[in-house]
C-alpha cells in the first residue's frame, strides 16, 4: 500500500532542517502509518538521499505525523548542488512513494533508481 494513497504530504525547510508532514485521510490510515513509519524505518529510507537523524512528532488529533531532519540540508537552500534551488520541495515523495506491506508493516521504495 503506497503511503500517498492513505495520506497527503508536504516538504518544507528552514536552514539546515528538512521537515516532512504527512496527514492521513482517516483514523485507520493514521494508525497504519504510525505503526509502519517508525523513526528507524524512515531514517533508513531517507538516509539514502539526505544525511542525519530523524525526529518524529505525532499529532493524533490532526491525524498527522511530522518527520524533522535537523541536519539534512547542510548549509540550507543556497548550498545545494542540485540544479536550481529548493529541490527539497520534492522530498515528500521519498515518503509518499514508500510502500507499506500491510502484513509485516515493512517499508520499501519500489523501482528505486540506484545509479547516480
Amino acid at each position: 500500500m503506497r503511503v500517498g494513497d492513505i495520506a497527503v504530504g508536504r516538504a518544507g525547510d528552514k536552514g539546515d532542517m528538512l521537515d516532512l508532514t504527512l496527514v492521513a485521510a482517516d483514523d485507520a490510515s493514521f494508525s497504519l502509518m504510525s505503526q509502519a513509519l517508525s523513526v528507524h524505518a524512515v531514517q533508513h529510507m531517507l538516509n539514502k538521499v539526505v544525511p542525519g537523524p530523524v525526529l518524529r512528532y505525532d499529532l493524533p488529533g490532526l491525524k498527522a505525523l511530522k518527520f524533522v531532519m535537523p541536519e539534512a540540508l547542510g548549509g540550507g537552500v543556497y548550498a545545494t548542488l542540485r540544479p536550481g534551488l529548493h529541490w527539497q520541495k520534492a522530498a515528500i515523495w521519498l515518503l509518499l512513494d514508500l510502500d507499506i506491506d500491510p502484513q509485516t508493516l515493512a517499508l520499501c521504495l519500489h523501482n528505486s533508481e540506484a545509479s547516480s
Binding site: V8, L62, A79, L81, S112
Partner: protein, 443 residues
C-alpha cells in the same frame, strides 16, 4: 459582543516576493476583507536587498513594490481595506516614502503610510547568540519582529504598514490584535491564522497533491491553478476563525490542506516560537462547516519566548556554478550517460562533496530516491560545483561546453549560472535590545 460574529476579516495577498499580484487586488476590491497582508520577504530575497542598500542608501526595498502596489492601492482605497506587508525588505523607510509617492501619482490622496524600523540589528551583532561561530563576512543581521509595532501603527490610523523582517504570522495578527479578548490564547489563535495564511495559495490547494495523486474529478484543473483563490479568514474575538476564499474562487479548503499548512516548516508543533508567543498546535481542530470553509479553533500558547530569532547572512568566498548540457533524439539517454561519465573522468580531482554530476529528467532531484522510468526523449547532464573563485567556476563551465566538440554526439542547449555562496545563520537576541520606531508618510 456577539461571540458568533467575526471581529475582523483578513485576506492573504501574497505568499512570497515573486507571488502573483492579482489575488491581493481581488481580495481588496471585494469589500469582503478589512485588510490584506502580503508576505513578500524570504531570506533569499533579503540578501539582494541588503546588498542594494549597501550600494545606495535609498535602495533596498522590494524591487516589485511598484508593480505590486500600482493596482492594489486604488483597489484597497475604494473599499477602505488596509494593506500590511514586509516588502520594505532591507529599507522599510524608503518603501514607505515610495508607497506614499506612488499613491499620490495614482490619485489616491490622504493615504497614511507607516514604516516599521528596527529589525536590522547588524550594529548589535556582537550581542546576538549565534547557533554556531560566524565564519566569513556577516553582511546582514535582522531580528524577527512581532505584531506590536504594526498593530500600534494601525491603531494610530495607518492605511498601509510596511516593514522589513517580521514574523510572517505577525503581519496577519497585527490588525486583528485590538479586537481580540485579552486571553493570550486569543492572540495565539490570530497568530495561528497568520501562520495558515502566510503562504497564500499553498493553503487553498496550491502545492497540494490530493490523496492518491492527481486523478479525475478531484484535482484542480490547469484553469483552476491559473486562477487559484487565495485565503481569507474571518477571525473571532477568541482567536478562532473561519478559513475560506472569495465566493466561487477555485480552491480546496479542507482539513487536509489546512493541516498541511499548519505544520509546514514547523519543527516541534507543540512549541512553535513566534516573536509574540510560543504556539501549541497540538490541540488545533479543523471542522468543515461549508464548501471550502473550515472552522479553526483550539490554538494555545505557553507565553512569550525569552528571545527573538535573528537571521544572519554570511557571504562565503567563491561561487556555486550550475551548468547543463542537453541531449535529444535517438539514443539521447545513452549519449547523456556517456557525457556524464566523461565529465566525471575530466573532473576526477574535485572532492566528491564539492561537485555533483547527474541527469536532469532521471535523478538530479531525488538522487537515489528517484523512481525508475523509461528514458526520457530529451534530457540534460547537470553539473554543480563549489568553486573557490571565478576562475575555477569558469573551468567547470568550459569542461561542459567542451563536450559539444569532444563529447558524445549532439550535446546542445548548454546553460550555466553562477551564484554567490551565502550562508544563513540563526541567532537569538534579548528582545529588550531591539528598539522599533514608526516613520510616517502621507500621499
Amino acid at each position: 459582543m456577539n461571540p458568533h460574529k467575526p471581529v475582523y476579516r483578513i485576506g492573504s495577498g501574497a505568499g512570497f516576493a515573486g507571488d502573483r499580484v492579482d489575488p491581493a487586488v481581488a481580495l481588496a476590491a471585494s469589500g469582503k476583507v478589512d485588510a490584506v497582508a502580503l508576505e513578500c520577504l524570504a531570506e533569499r530575497t533579503l540578501v539582494p536587498a541588503i546588498k542594494a542598500r549597501a550600494d545606495n542608501s535609498e535602495a533596498g526595498a522590494d524591487p516589485r513594490l511598484r508593480r505590486r502596489l500600482t493596482p492594489l492601492l486604488p483597489a484597497a482605497a475604494s473599499t477602505g481595506c488596509k494593506i500590511i506587508s514586509n516588502l520594505g525588505a532591507a529599507n522599510p523607510r524608503a518603501a514607505g516614502m515610495a508607497i506614499a509617492q506612488l499613491a499620490k501619482g495614482l490619485g489616491v490622496s490622504g493615504l497614511k503610510v507607516a514604516a516599521v524600523e528596527g529589525d536590522d540589528v547588524i550594529a548589535m551583532a556582537d550581542k546576538v547568540k549565534w547557533v554556531k561561530p560566524v565564519t566569513g563576512k556577516l553582511i546582514g543581521a535582522h531580528a524577527y519582529l512581532g505584531c506590536v509595532p504594526m498593530a500600534e501603527a494601525l491603531e494610530a490610523g495607518a492605511d498601509v504598514v510596511v516593514t522589513g523582517r517580521v514574523a510572517d504570522s505577525a503581519l496577519f495578527a497585527a490588525p486583528v490584535r485590538q479586537f481580540l479578548n485579552s486571553d493570550p490564547n486569543a492572540l495565539a489563535g490570530a497568530l495561528t491564522v497568520g501562520h495558515l495564511l502566510e503562504c497564500g495559495g499553498q493553503l487553498t490547494g496550491g502545492n497540494y497533491d490530493t490523496l492518491g495523486g492527481p486523478h479525475p474529478g478531484n484535482p484542480l484543473s490547469a484553469a483552476d491553478f491559473a486562477a487559484l483563490g487565495y485565503p481569507l479568514a474571518l477571525v473571532y474575538a477568541d482567536g478562532s476563525a473561519d478559513i475560506t476564499v472569495l465566493d466561487g474562487a477555485p480552491a480546496i479548503v479542507d482539513a487536509l490542506t489546512c493541516t498541511l499548512q499548519l505544520l509546514y516548516e514547523v519543527h516541534d508543533p507543540s512549541r512553535y516560537a513566534t516573536p509574540d508567543l510560543v504556539l501549541d498546535f497540538s490541540g488545533i481542530r479543523f471542522e468543515q462547516i461549508g464548501h471550502n470553509i473550515i472552522r479553526m479553533s483550539g490554538a494555545r500558547t505557553s507565553g512569550p519566548p525569552p528571545t527573538l530569532k535573528v537571521a544572519g547572512f554570511i557571504e562565503l568566498p567563491g561561487f556555486i556554478v550550475d551548468c547543463e548540457i542537453g541531449f535529444a533524439g535517438t539514443g539521447a539517454w545513452e549519449r547523456a550517460k556517456r557525457a556524464a561519465d566523461a565529465l566525471r573522468m575530466r573532473l576526477s580531482d574535485w572532492a566528491d562533496e564539492d561537485i555533483a554530476i547527474d541527469l536532469v529528467g532521471v535523478n538530479a532531484i531525488l538522487r537515489a530516491g528517484s523512481l525508475s522510468a523509461p528514458p526520457p526523449a530529451e534530457l540534460r547532464v547537470h553539473v554543480s560545483a563549489r568553486c573557490q573563485d571565478a576562475e575555477m567556476a569558469q573551468q567547470i563551465e568550459d569542461e561542459v561546453y567542451a563536450l559539444t566538440l569532444s563529447g558524445p554526439a549532439g550535446g546542445c542547449s548548454v546553460r550555466s549560472e553562477k551564484r554567490n555562496r551565502i550562508e544563513v545563520l540563526d541567532g537569538f537576541i534579548d528582545p529588550a535590545l531591539v528598539k522599533t520606531q514608526l516613520l510616517w508618510s502621507q500621499s
